[in-house]
Every structure is written in structure tokens, then in C-alpha cells.
């Protein structure tokens, strides 16, 4: 349905002047004519320029792992045997920023893809997308312009773990989208066995903006350590629920007006915190504070509601998303979810001890970051929601209405 594409269904806004979402906030989908008026044609650069520029602005991958883009680019060989892979699978159910970007600013994503492909002297470009609306918008965008005939837009069908980049590589190649047992990174062996520069779609859009503005203008916004902007998805009791482009360095309390409710930072592989006080949108400082930004999801339940049952539901969902390849994840996550459910139902401290012991058995014992990320979500919930869980222990329930803020994919239990 074309009409669905024209105006955002997820609320979209910006703090300060939007870069990636320029035009989107006011007009909805940015077609090629509007894109050219806003950004001009893609500013093609040599690989050396991109490596230096992305190093100078400290650009980090936007999929969740926050790997330095310059290091990844510098590690790539060049030539027609290379591939470029844009990961738009957005397996994180709470995140909307990637599909919003691809749906409403598809040309910026494509510009980034063409820019990197040109710098690596290849024309093998694949965009892997899960969301059907985002997929259609990208396909339409490729048809709206004359320089993107070789860009391959493919649908992925897999869940959370399937969005991990090595899993996406295997899915794109026609296999089952699960990570390999040995950690071979895409720049060594990626799409079709070729060296592949792979990153999240927002990373590519950021590269397009960086190339167009140059280092100085790109760095005019945000802190010196990580200038520029970031796309975040705000959920629940936040300033503006939806996808927001924020300048890096934005103080999190600005996005989260005062409330006694705890905050989830980084999504379902993220961390619960009692408060956002003192935290800023800056990946290195959030990591140092033990609350990595991940894929940019920030959620907070409304004060006076109980988030415990929702946390149990997410823990069960995380367990169900295990690819089933690695025993400690496959057996451990359901056991941890059972412990958590028992605690929510009034079980005593021995069940909390059991949960902590099993979380230790899950961490670091898998082929991908799913067990570790899930353990972070559950472990931090046990800590931050300790007071709520103790009410549940003594009264069976807490009597507060359920929070109803943490989304799960349709069909998930």
C-alpha cells in the first residue's frame, strides 16, 4: 500500500536539526527529488578518505556492537571480489529506528552503500531487510534513481539471533540464518565467501552524511569524542515515544522526564538501571557506565505500574529466540526464565540464587552474543527490580496494573 509509506506510522521527531531524518519529520518519505534537494548527489570518496574521516569523528557501528567503522574499513581489501552488506534486519523487537530510516530516508542509506562500494572498488552491494514496508521503500528508491540498478535488496525471515551480522551473511547466501561456531568476521569471509564490509544501515547513512558534510561540519554537533547524531527508539514513559534523532551528548534525563520508574537502556540485550541520571548519549561513556546503548532502544514503564510480568515475558521470548545451536543458551535461558517467573509468582531468595548461578552458566558460552545479552537483561532486572520482586515474594503479587510497554513480535507468547 503506497499510502502507508508516505507518512510515518511510528512517530518520528528530532532534537535539534535532523540529519538522517531531514525532511522526514515534515514530509514523510523522502523521494529522490527531495533527497537531491536536501543532500545533493552522493559525494564519492577514496577509501583512505573514508578511513581517516570516520576515525576522526569516532564513528561507531550502529547495530549494537559499536565497533569502530574506520578499523573495519581499513581491514578490507579492495576490488571486485569484495562485497558490501547493509544489515537492516533489525531483529530487536523494541527497535524501530532502522525500518524508519529505510522506509522514510531510503536514498541516504543507498548513498552510503554506493559510497562504500565505490571506495572499495566493487559493485557487489546487498541490503538485507526484514520489514516488508522498509523493503518495498528501498526497492522503489532503487527504481527512482539511475545509479542503483546493481543494489540487491533481499528480505530476511529470521528473528533476533538471525539479525547478528554473521547470521545475516549466511541467510543472504541461502543458508539458515544462524551464527557460525568459529568467529570468522565478515571482512575475512562474508557474502559468497568474499571479504565483506558489513554494518548496520544507520552506519551507512551516517557515512553518507559524513561524506557530504566533511569532517568539520559533521563534527559541529555533539561531543568531540563522538560527534554527530544518533537514532534512538524511545518507548513508554519518555519525552517523545517513537524514533528520535538526537545529537550525541544529549543528557538522557532530557529524554526521560523525572519518574521513580526504572529505565531499560539498549533493548532486550540491554541493561536495567534505577535511573538515567548522569548518563548521556555517547557510546563510550554509556559502555563505561555499564549500560551500552546497543541498538539505541531506551524504554521506561510508567510510574505506578508493574514491569515484572513483562520482564518475565521478555525473558521467555529471549529463551525462545535461541537458535538452539549452543547448549548453555538453549538449556540455560529457559531455566533462567523459569527462575524469574517463579520469583514473580512469589518464590523466595533461593530461586534468586538459582537464577544468578544459571546466569553465570550462560554468559560467554555461546557462538554469538545472545546468551550474554540476555543474561545482561535478566541479571540487571533482578538487581534493579529487587524491591518489586520482594513485594511479589511477600504478597504473591504487587497489585499494580501491568506496565504494558515492552513490545514483542506478533505471535510471541
Amino acid at each position: 500500500m503506497t499510502s502507508m509509506l508516505e507518512t510515518p506510522t511510528t512517530p518520528v521527531s528530532a532534537i535539534g536539526a535532523p540529519r538522517l531524518l531531514a525532511g522526514v519529520v515534515d514530509h514523510g518519505r523522502v523521494d529522490h527529488a527531495r533527497h537531491l534537494a536536501l543532500h545533493g548527489p552522493p559525494a564519492l570518496r577514496r577509501r583512505g578518505w573514508l578511513v581517516t574521516a570516520s576515525h576522526e569523528v569516532g564513528l561507531l557501528g550502529r547495530g549494537g556492537a559499536a565497533f569502530p567503522v574506520s578499523t573495519k574499513l581499513a581491514a578490507m581489501p579492495t576490488g571486485t571480489r569484495c562485497s558490501v552488506l547493509l544489515n537492516g534486519s533489525e531483529g530487536e523487537p523494541a527497535s524501530r529506528k532502522d525500518r524508519t530510516l529505510m522506509t522514510y530516508a531510503p536514498h541516504l542509506v543507498i548513498d552510503g552503500a554506493l559510497l562504500v562500494a565505490d571506495a572499495l572498488e566493487t559493485d557487489d552491494v546487498t541490503i538485507a531487510v526484514h520489514d516488508p514496508v522498509a523493503h518495498d521503500s528501498l526497492v522503489r528508491a532503487c527504481a527512482e534513481r539511475t545509479d542503483a540498478g546493481h543494489v540487491r535488496v533481499v528480505r530476511t525471515r529470521d528473528g533476533f539471533v538471525g539479525g547478528e551480522v554473521r547470521a545475516v551473511v549466511r541467510g543472504v547466501d541461502g543458508g539458515r540464518a544462524v551464527p557460525e561456531g568459529r568467529r570468522v568476521l565478515p571482512h575475512v569471509r562474508g557474502v559468497g565467501g568474499r571479504p565483506t564490509f558489513a554494518s548496520n544501515v544507520e552506519t551507512f547513512a551516517q557515512l553518507a552524511v559524513l561524506s557530504g558534510l566533511g569532517v568539520t561540519r559533521y563534527a559541529a554537533v555533539g561531543p568531540a569524542t563522538e560527534p554527530g547524531t544518533s537514532l534512538v527508539t524511545l518507548i513508554g514513559d519518555t519525552l517523545r515515544p517513537g524514533v528520535v534523532e538526537v545529537p550525541n551528548g544529549t543528557h538522557l534525563p532530557l529524554l526521560l522526564p523525572p519518574s521513580p520508574a526504572p529505565v531499560l537502556i539498549g533493548g532486550y540485550h540491554g541493561t536495567w538501571r534505577p535511573t538515567a541520571d548522569g548518563l548521556v548519549v555517547e557510546r563510550a561513556s554509556l559502555r563505561a557506565a555499564g549500560a551500552p546503548l546497543g541498538a539505541g532502544v531506551i524504554a521506561r514503564p510508567y510510574a505506578g505500574t508493574c514491569v515484572v510480568d513483562e520482564v518475565v515475558r521478555v525473558a521467555r521470548w529471549l529463551a525462545s529466540e535461541s537458535a538452539g545451536q549452543c547448549g548453555p543458551c538453549w538449556f540455560g535461558l529457559p531455566a533462567v526464565a523459569d527462575d524469574l517467573a517463579a520469583l514473580a509468582g512469589g518464590a523466595g531468595p533461593d530461586r534468586a540464587a538459582s537464577a544468578h548461578r544459571r546466569l553465570d552458566l550462560v554468559r560467554g558460552r555461546g557462538a554469538c552474543s545472545h546468551p550474554d545479552g540476555s543474561a545482561m537483561f535478566v541479571g540487571s532486572a533482578l538487581e534493579v527490580l529487587a524491591a518489586e520482586l520482594s513485594v511479589h515474594q511477600h504478597h504473591g503479587r504487587c497489585g499494580l496494573p501491568p506496565s504494558n510497554v515492552l513490545p514483542l513480535p506478533v505471535g510471541a507468547r
Partner: protein, 66 residues
């Protein structure tokens, strides 16, 4: 120095490694190996090689770390 690495996608909890190298490997509640995280003592390298070779799933590797 050598360390023991488990390929978790291959491991099927047969448990032989723990029998052959009890000094380094115990099993968790589901039967999957818990490997001591320190570098392998020289005297155990031989036994570790045997444990890796005996794994029915070829899930164990000895890696050299400098």
C-alpha cells in the same frame, strides 16, 4: 601457552572431555563443559590434546596463545 576453546555449536554434552581432563573441565547442570579460564599447565597439554581428539563432536580445540 595453550588454552582450551569450545565450539558451542558443535558440543553435544557427551562429557568425555571432563572424564579425560578433570583438572580443567567440569560439567554444568546440563552436561556442558565448564573450562577453567586460566592458561593450561604444561603438564596437562598432552591430556588436553587427547581430550580434544576424543571429543565425538570435534567441539574442543587447543589454541596457542602467546
Amino acid at each position: 601457552m595453550s588454552t582450551i576453546a569450545v565450539d558451542w555449536t558443535r558440543c553435544d554434552a557427551h562429557g568425555l572431555c571432563s572424564r579425560l581432563l578433570p583438572e580443567e573441565i567440569t560439567l554444568d547442570e546440563w552436561g556442558f563443559p565448564l573450562v577453567a579460564r586460566r592458561d593450561l599447565d604444561r603438564s596437562l597439554v598432552r591430556a588436553a590434546r587427547q581430550a580434544a581428539a576424543a571429543c565425538p563432536a570435534l567441539a574442543l580445540r587447543l589454541t596457542q596463545s602467546s
